[in-house]
Symmetry: C2
Subunit: 365 residues, 2 copies
């Protein structure tokens, strides 16, 4: 029995991929493509060759016939760099690799930078698109800052620019709106989109201080060493920009969003709201008003029974209001790194398919 | 700004549709295509011509150049039949219309029959497919009884058989699994799929008796005059069969599902569970075990904080567990007839598109 989305079995050559960034998500991707491959029957037809991996501080490898992934993985998983003995080792920056190597698709997994307004990821993506290469990325910065420019560039070159992992990891919210809400106009979005703050608020409800909750989140790998981007609402702001730009034709960037973080939430606030059965959540919103799309991120009281009330821990959720039907809510149940990896894998499958859908491919078999 | 899913603007001729059944959903569809059309900018490119409407007891109309929909609507909305003065009036049964009229797509909206194991809808659909016509339907019976036969027939004729409205109305759960979970294998499904029982349980929690709650549901148009199919769990059973057959490659029919309804739930049961903060819900499940897919429908205690706990009133929800990521939950927020209508409209757009997706159609514009 096949899984959803048929791969084009007539494709002879593998999809040649250049991978930028090999942190948790990049290594997870390499694992799914190698040592864990057999666990996933739905990936049977996926034929991917990684022709290069560049990293910020751990060196780079490249080989036209495909790098030795098992070796690359084991060198990086020890926490180290690509070794001098690795025959695939090369001296290349990420941008040089994008501009010089031969590949079909770029997988951009470098870290988000708000300070640099989405750079250097934007330059990596732009350079690949200009060379008419497909791009798959989990980096949300570019779509919060220059969504339309990049999409227009991809269109003009006839290639795909896919970024399902940028919001709610692999949970298919972007693809849902793209492929399943035909004819609908999206009127409003409402969601819990930042796991770290949701996790911290959940732990604070149980009595931890914010400091303790943040440390626990860091210990469990949910929060970055510097949690400021999460706590101050920047990550949530970037995500609502991506969604509003992608779903509602907005032209937002984080500077245009009314942003509030959770830094000032106290145990007292949570107790007071909790006594009524309600919860405090960091809620992202986007809405249409007089032809304009606006967005905000703020701590709100969510009443018991509201679809977002029950989203706790690292969960995330998005409520989509359209003109043609009742609101639908997509909830992600305590996701982890695996989910971001899946978002990238799903997008790579889309790129690997010669067409998005073939004539008879409207359903599972 | 366009909405999701681009219609093929190069298509010159309208999509010629034969409509079987013109109850709430059929009339809602006709309204969206006529008097309400201007409200929905996303439908701009949709060019549909209804060449025939047949009903169980209200007569039939047909015209090759398109029936007068506004007249048809006003005749039926008075609760009456097609009038003898209507120049489009014809003497045709549904099956005759399917076999004799000229159309591109059949829209099958006749009522579900469990007693007749999905007939006569199955015959209508089969006849249309045998004539190489596309089929869109909101009737779940055929997919609970002969899913694979019908899908194979559609495949062999190179036409589409779409049924998004059969489960959770228009909420795109079928399309979500088809188009957005590429490479994933669906391991388990868990959901609240019958609105009537969920509504009745919600009202009973507030103190109504089952009898009173059912009457209220009937008054508000949520429950049929004979609510047995809902209360005894048949409707829920049919839906989990459709989902298991469509998503998990199962070959289930309702006779193979362990089925329980809500008839025996008492106010006392609800109070007891409610005192602990939990709720009783009619839960549908499907799962894989040793290469087989099984399903059941039963009243279960859902603890507070569980993603299905907050689904109240006529809401519905489906939790999808896959091998490649954390479970995702799709929740529908108090849907109504409009949602079923949208499911049909969305499927018609898919049929109207010459291809499911064009090369550059991976995103909204």
């Amino acid at each position: 029995m096949k899984a959803a989305g048929r791969l084009d079995s007539s494709r002879k050559a593998p999809l040649r991929v250049l991978l930028l960034g090999c942190g948790n998500v990049g290594r997870g991707l390499v694992r799914v493509l190698t040592v864990e491959r057999d666990r996933y029957p739905g990936l049977e037809g996926l034929d991917i060759q990684i022709v290069g991996i560049t990293t910020g501080t751990r060196g780079a490898v490249a080989r036209e016939s495909g790098v030795d992934l098992v070796r690359a993985l084991s060198e990086l998983e020890g926490g180290g760099r690509f070794s001098k003995q690795n025959p695939d080792r090369v001296e290349l920056t990420s941008l040089e690799a994008v501009q010089e190597l031969d590949y079909d698709a770029l997988v951009e997994l470098t870290p988000l930078s708000i300070a640099n307004r989405g750079e250097p990821a934007i330059s990596h993506i732009r350079s690949a698109l200009e060379r008419s290469r497909h791009v798959v990325t989990a980096n949300k910065g570019p779509f919060a800052y220059v969504y339309r420019d990049l999409m227009n560039l991809a269109d003009s070159r006839g290639v795909r620019l896919l970024h399902e992992s940028t919001v709610m990891d692999g949970a298919p919210v972007l693809n849902l709106a793209r492929h399943t809400l035909k004819g609908c106009r999206i009127q409003a979005l409402e969601g819990i989109l930042n796991s770290t703050t949701n996790y911290v608020l959940s732990r604070m409800e149980e009595g931890l201080s914010m400091q303790e909750a943040v440390e626990l989140a860091q210990l469990q790998g949910y929060a970055e060493a510097d949690p400021t981007l999460d706590l101050e609402g920047w990550d949530a702001t970037v995500k609502i920009c991506v969604l509003a730009n992608a779903f509602m034709g907005a032209d937002l960037d984080p500077s245009k969003v009314d942003r509030q973080g959770i830094e000032k939430v106290t145990a007292e606030d949570l107790r007071e709201v909790g006594a009524r059965g309600d919860r405090l959540k960091l809620i992202c919103r986007a809405w249409r008003h007089e032809g304009q799309v606006s967005a905000k991120v703020a701590v709100e009281t969510v009443p018991a029974g509201h679809p977002l009330w029950a989203v706790s821990g690292t969960g995330a959720a998005l409520r989509i209001t359209t003109d043609l039907m009742a609101p639908i809510v997509v909830v992600q149940d305590n996701p982890g790194v695996k989910d971001t990896v899946y978002g990238v894998v799903g997008d790579l499958i889309t790129v690997a398919e010669r067409k998005f859908e073939t004539e008879n491919d409207g359903r599972l078999k």
